[in-house]
């Protein structure tokens, strides 16, 4: 049986500055990839869950543990959703 995989992407809130993304953008420019206009860098979590994933529980995990709600937003991707 396949174990359900839940993906959580954590991204900086749009108003928060992102030095990491800036550094990548700068490198892309120097390497000749001028068509990339902006880069934001976040975290990507892949969780394997026993049984049927419980959306509320996962949402809570994502918002309280995986992300820092002061500066980050989360996107939860449940399997088959």
């Amino acid at each position: 049986m396949r174990v359900p995989r839940v993906v959580v992407d954590v991204v900086l809130k749009p108003e928060i500055s992102d030095p990491q993304g800036q550094a990548v953008l700068g490198a892309l420019g120097r390497l000749g990839h001028g068509s990339v206009r902006s880069v934001r860098q976040g975290k990507h979590f892949v969780l394997e869950v026993d049984g049927t994933p419980d959306r509320d529980e996962l949402q809570q995990i994502a918002e309280t543990l995986l992300a820092n709600p002061v500066i980050e937003d989360v996107e939860l991707h449940l399997p088959g959703a």
Binding site: V10, L12, P14, E15, I16, G26, L66
Partner: protein, 770 residues
């Protein structure tokens, strides 16, 4: 359509209601602004005045007290005193040193990693602004109870933030403090110090002079950072924008640090200084552009014009008022002669630092700001930057102080048997305040730049500043808040004395003082009394020790609900080493050396570590302040170290002799056989009293040390001889170093050891990790 509130509009709409209360201005302050301008302020002007007249920027409650520092006798070493970004002292051979400590308490509670990181970033820019190369940092940290869940949230993030930023800048961390007390539960203290070195001729001041000179903004782009609290302005100005379907981004109250950009800023600035390309320079910290432009103009000839549209933005929805208030990090503002602008910009390009001419110095005495060709600010800059409100706040001795002082620790049960004494010894040494701080310090780079001669766990950080002459500096940072709670006047002096002593035991000559005064709400007369007493104590203490106060920082409103923190004056002392090769460490290296205690031991337990750890007790009187004795001890130590008569020296402070002996033995794993009976009438007093003006030294020539000490009028008590792998104290069970070390090192890892605790407190965007 965005309605911009221009000066013209302000003149035409004198009665338009303005949200000044929400911005923290009092009725009379708002009236004063109207008087100064002869009309109502524009939204942008209101923004500027409100941030610049805040407690944080204007020192309106503390100013009347801080004046005492300026009244201290002028020291020969002092090149620049209070009032600039940081004070500057002459350390000899044409070198000048600038140093300052600053708080970032509240931001570190909200977002520990970023709050602490940007605290380091801010103080480093202050030092850079003086024309100096930053060469080291220190940090003084205070949290709630060590075992409180919230401390497990805040502390790891703060430590990672201090380390993350400082390490990535390439500044060695050479010392600091870590302590815990319930009173900091909702209000941790994060104070960061930076020290920089320059040649005398490199000194730069923050002023704008020479009409026609350009105003250059350089470093990071401006975003909405740090203005979350004043979103009232955004909503106001954007009423129309919202209708038009443009929604302004939410304004964050948290600032995110970018140490990489700051490192580039440092290198670019130093190159710019070396090439003589600036006439004045200012960092952007609290209050951002409002502060930098008004301070530069106010300190100079007075006139400046800025075209705000030229400011490079990260967020195009920012309103002019927000741009003026933004606290985006890693930015600087320079005044550059027109003929040097191209060279200035070229240096910035080389370091990948964005730089933009945003205005110029003007004749006259107005600071004017335009936005899309319309005038939105027209103010006398002095009224914004230097002539803000000043309050003489009421002071009142805290009602509970007499009871607190009457609650003398003499009444507490004491250990009597040897076994009990040893048990208390272990307990004090392994308490969170007494325990090994490696958990924290190993997250900090202490080696970078290759000039660190001493760092934690030694008493002072020592940095070489010249590889040929071996000239160097020593720094210590101390702030015992228990003493200050019992007596803020004496407490400030005791902290001063401790930092002074810490610098002296390294062999350095103490030269100058900085301070960060962390207190509760100034609107509370009892807190204001504590503040006034501490400042008076510090000023009197500095006068007695002959040291200038070169600068510092005041942090008020540190409280949880309506309970203020213990008054916490953190004092930094800078000393100079003519030859750092003579420094001595705090630990014992070799067997067979004589262990001596310098100084008098009295039965003093008020505010002691023993009372706190063993009884959770705070009461009585702090140890007596003995500044003449401190002076004599420091002079003696300088002499002993200079002549190579001692092989180690360690000062006594919290935890008294018990703590000092344990630390000296554990440093290099050398024990000792000791008899403490000549120290005091009883072993308990010998071990746990916290009398000041004391140090433990080791020597191979006790006779000469005795003679020198007698001559200096410092009492010498022989304690025994180094050697072996245990502390063997007469009448006490032997304390094997292995057992002592196990207890001492286990505490912090047991509390914070699991790496999981940092997950979630380290944000995605900003984790430099290597």
């Amino acid at each position: 359509m965005i309605t911009v509130d221009t000066v013209e509009r302000a003149v035409g709409t004198p009665d338009e209601p303005q949200p000044y209360t929400e911005l923290g201005l009092k009725d009379d302050e708002y009236v004063r602004i109207r008087d100064i301008l002869g009309r109502r302020p524009t939204t942008a002007e209101l923004a500027m005045y409100s941030v610049m007249w805040s407690e944080h920027c204007s020192y309106k409650s503390s100013k009347v007290h801080l004046r005492q520092f300026g009244d201290l006798p002028r020291s020969e070493a002092l090149l620049v005193g209070i009032g600039e970004n940081a004070g500057v002292v002459d350390v000899g051979d044409g070198y000048a040193v600038t140093f300052k400590v600053e708080s970032h308490n509240h931001p570190s509670y909200v977002e520990p990693y970023q709050g602490a990181a940007t605290g380091v970033g801010g103080i480093v820019r202050d030092i850079l602004t003086m024309g100096a190369r930053p060469v080291a940092v220190m940090d003084s940290l205070r949290f709630g109870r060590a075992d409180a869940p919230d401390t497990a949230r805040v502390l790891p993030g703060v430590v990672a933030g201090v380390g993350g930023y400082g390490n990535c800048l390439g500044l060695p961390n050479i010392g600091g403090e870590l302590s815990f007390d319930e009173c900091y539960a909702g209000n941790p203290l994060v104070n960061a110090l930076c020290v920089g070195v320059m040649r005398h001729e490199d000194l730069r001041l923050a002023k704008a002079e020479g009409a026609g000179n350009r105003v250059v903004l350089f470093g990071a782009r401006t975003g909405g950072d740090g203005i979350g609290g004043v979103s009232v302005l955004a909503s106001e100005t954007f009423a129309d924008a919202a209708e038009a379907g443009l929604s302004p981004a939410k304004r964050p109250s948290v600032q995110v640090g970018d140490p990489f950009t700051e490192k580039l800023l440092i290198e670019a600035c130093l190159e710019i200084f070396a090439a003589g390309l600036v006439t004045g320079i200012q960092d952007l910290g609290g209050a951002g552009l409002s502060c930098a432009t008004s301070e530069l103009a106010s300190a100079g000839t007075g006139g400046m014009h800025v075209d705000l549209d030229r400011v490079p933005l990260r967020d195009s929805t920012l309103t002019p008022a927000e741009i003026l208030m933004s606290e985006s990090q890693e930015r600087m503002c320079a005044i550059v002669e027109p003929g040097k602008v191209d060279d200035f910009l070229a240096v910035c390009r080389r370091w990948d630092v964005q730089a933009t001419v945003i205005g110029e110095v003007t004749d006259g005495d107005r600071l004017t700001v335009d936005w899309h060709g319309e005038r939105i600010v027209d103010v006398p800059p002095r009224t914004v930057a230097h002539e803000g409100p000043v309050y003489e706040r009421p002071v009142q001795r805290p009602a509970d102080l007499d009871d607190l002082r009457a609650d003398d620790p003499a009444a507490l049960p004491r250990p009597t048997t040897g076994a009990e004494l040893t048990a208390h010894w272990l307990a004090v040494v392994s308490s969170p305040d007494g325990a090994d701080k490696t958990w924290v310090t190993e997250q900090y780079d202490r080696y970078v730049r290759g000039n660190t001669v001493l760092a934690q766990p030694d008493d002072a950080g020592v940095v070489r500043i010249d590889e040929d002459t071996h000239r160097g500096i020593a720094l210590a940072l101390d702030g015992n808040a228990r003493y200050a709670r019992l007596d803020p006047y004496a407490g400030a002096q005791l902290n001063l004395a401790e930092a002074y002593r810490n610098v002296a035991v390294s062999g350095a000559r103490p030269l100058a003082v900085t301070n960060c005064l962390n207190f509760g709400s100034p609107e509370e007369p009892a807190v204001m009394w504590q503040f006034a007493e501490a400042v008076r104590g510090l000023a009197d203490g500095c006068r007695e020790l002959g040291l200038p106060v070169t600068g510092g920082n005041v942090s008020l409103y540190n409280q949880t609900g309506d309970v203020a923190i213990n008054p916490t004056p953190v004092i930094g002392v800078l000393g100079v080493h003519d030859d750092v090769r003579r420094r001595v460490p705090s630990g014992w290296r070799a067997a067979g050396e004589t262990v001596l205690l310098l100084g008098e031991t009295r039965a003093e337990f008020g505010g002691s570590a023993w009372a706190s750890v063993m009884h959770g007790h705070l009461g009585g009187r702090p140890p007596a302040v003995a500044l003449p004795a401190e002076k004599a001890l420091a002079a003696l130590l300088a002499g002993l170290v200079g002549e190579g008569l001692v092989t180690s020296a360690h000062d006594l402070s919290d935890g008294g002799l018990a703590q000092a002996l344990a630390e000296s033995a554990l440093r290099y794993g050398t024990g000792a056989a000791l008899d403490l009976s000549a120290v005091a009438g009883d072993a308990f007093t010998a071990l746990f009293s916290e009398s000041g003006a004391r140090a433990v030294v080791t020597t191979t020539d006790p006779g000469s040390v005795r003679v020198t000490a007698d001559w200096a009028g410092v009492r010498v008590t022989e304690l025994g001889t180094t050697g072996g792998d245990a502390l063997r104290v007469a009448d006490l069970p032997e304390l094997p170093l292995a057992e002592l070390r196990a207890a001492w090192t286990a505490t912090l890892p047991a509390l914070f050891g699991s790496p999981e605790v940092t997950v979630g407190s380290v944000p995605a965007g900003t984790v430099p990790t290597s």
